[in-house]
Amino acid sequence: MAEVRFEHVTKRFGETIAVNDLNLTIPDKEFLVLVGPSGCGKSTALRLISGLEEPTSGKIYIGDRLINDVAPKDRDIAMVFQSYALYPHMSVHDNMAFGLSLRKTPKPEIQRRVREAARVLGIEDLLKRKPRQLSGGQRQRVALGRAIVREPAAFLLDEPLSNLDAKLRVQTRAELSKLHQRLGTTFIYVTHDQVEALTMATVIAVMNKGFLQQVGKPQNLYERPDNVFVAGFIGSPAMNFFDVTVKGSQDGIYLDAGTFQVPVPKGKVGILNKYLDKKIVFGIRPEDIHSPEYMAPGIIASSIRAKVDVTELMGNEFFLHMLSDDKSFLARVDARTPAKPGQEIELVFNMANMHAFDSETQASLQSNSNSSRSGA
């Protein structure tokens, strides 16, 4: 199978534009995760690939084949739904065999594929049971098995982990990644959980309000987000944003947030020269804010003082909800840091990892040659 390609695809539901001029290429054999908040158009984009929705305008290709008018069953794709959509009146075996029997696959071949898929997923003992006799995790495996036996060119997964408990979700994430490596087939996965995106994807596409925000490798989206939305969406806890003014001084450029000032490292000065005396959005991730006693070596440190509002001990680290006048932000510091609510403490920003965004367009001011509007 070759790549899946959206060309200027728009999908309207009445007045609402669910997907707006989407241009996206999903390379063959990748694990692409479409991620974004509820209502961003990711599920619609998935359903457009499956054929369950038709685009209002634009073209969708699988390889060189235009599939706009191709029926869902002829697109050689298999879908795993959020609710699993198992046929309640059929056994696990019959659920998995249904699609194959419809295509008049010979019985021995059906048996072989069902047994093999059941073996891979560890559900051989469940073949005679009905869905209502299965746990959530087991049903999810059956749904996966039903897709696997079809041996499709691409798997489409619509938030398949949403209905699982937290522990099972973590376990299943790893299994899905392993499955992808084992099968070597394209996975197109939709989720609102950016942790799932970061952990499983080989390529992430972030969407918001029907628009594609950025496509790229997970590390690229994390280190070089194209705009404020992607910066705030990818990474947990979310990036801190401050409205600052770029000011010049004898020693160089600094960012004035009103209640604190931070110098801009030499490597970043070039991009901010055009913004002297102008407002920009300054972003810094909680993990790039350290306590001075326990900061990692090699960071470009810039101290500020702020008041501790709330503390959350996570075991291996401390989340400090800080207040600097009316500005609140979050810091992830070493668990040994002495900090109590109400206390004013010193924190250090690692300005090597600072982010800067245009106040009006919200676009990143840092050049991003590694990211593009395709998955390549």
């Binding site: 869902p72 739904f81 249904f98 419809l102």
Partner: protein, 298 residues
Amino acid sequence: MSMVQESSGTTHIFLRFLTSLRRLISRLPLHIILIGAALLWMTPTFGLLVSSFRPATAVGSTGWWTAFQTPFQFTLDNYSSVLSQNGMARSFLNSLIITIPATIIPILVAGFAAFAFAWMKFPGRNALFIFVVALLVVPIQVTLIPVLRLFTDVKLVGTFPGIWLAHTAYGLPLAIFLLRNFFGALPRELLESAYLDGASNMRVFFRLILPLSVPALASLAIFQFLWVWNDLLVALVYLQSPSKAPMTLTINNLVSSFGTQWQLLTAAAFISMILPLIIFFALQRYFVEGITAGAVKG
């Protein structure tokens, strides 16, 4: 176990018994009212049942409640008389011939229609559905003469196909309404999964929708079966053929010819009741489910 433990165990059981007793007593008035109403309601029917086993002389001279005093006079003659004479056996068969297709055909047609209304997109779908449901308000009486004229023109009067068609038409609005609501409540993703697996609409209908809709179909079958089995008016108007008369028509005729022979009338009535009673008790669960299915899931 120590004495203390033993006595606390006994106390526990006693307390549970007291709680159950208290619950029973608090519900007693309600139970008495319900049982009383049920007995009152069943009394006339019970009286008819008793009368059907009494000889003509007893029925004509004394009330049915006296049957439980000596001398006991019970007989099966009434039933054998009704069955062997007056074409009652033939009528029973006719009732079956009329009712079974008139139950299956509307359900099948309504099933297809309900699936289309629930899951297929086509222009005018909503308007057409409203129109079909609106037909529920049309009284049968209004249709009798026009349909009779139509049947006369196409020579369907006095034929079984004619009466099957009539019952199908009368039963469709309700059947479509109930089934459409039930089908529409099935999870969308289930059908989408089937389409992706390669199922056509027909396959989805027969292998997915129908098996999952057994409660709704069963309750609809009971409604329709009872309605057609007990129907007199439609048979009276459209059949007009003594050899094809169902039981309702035959019993109606018996009233005029055996007006005072209650023992025969009651026996005939109970013969007519047997089959619906069997079906009702066999599918009782679906009947109750079906009453709420369309309403709640709609």
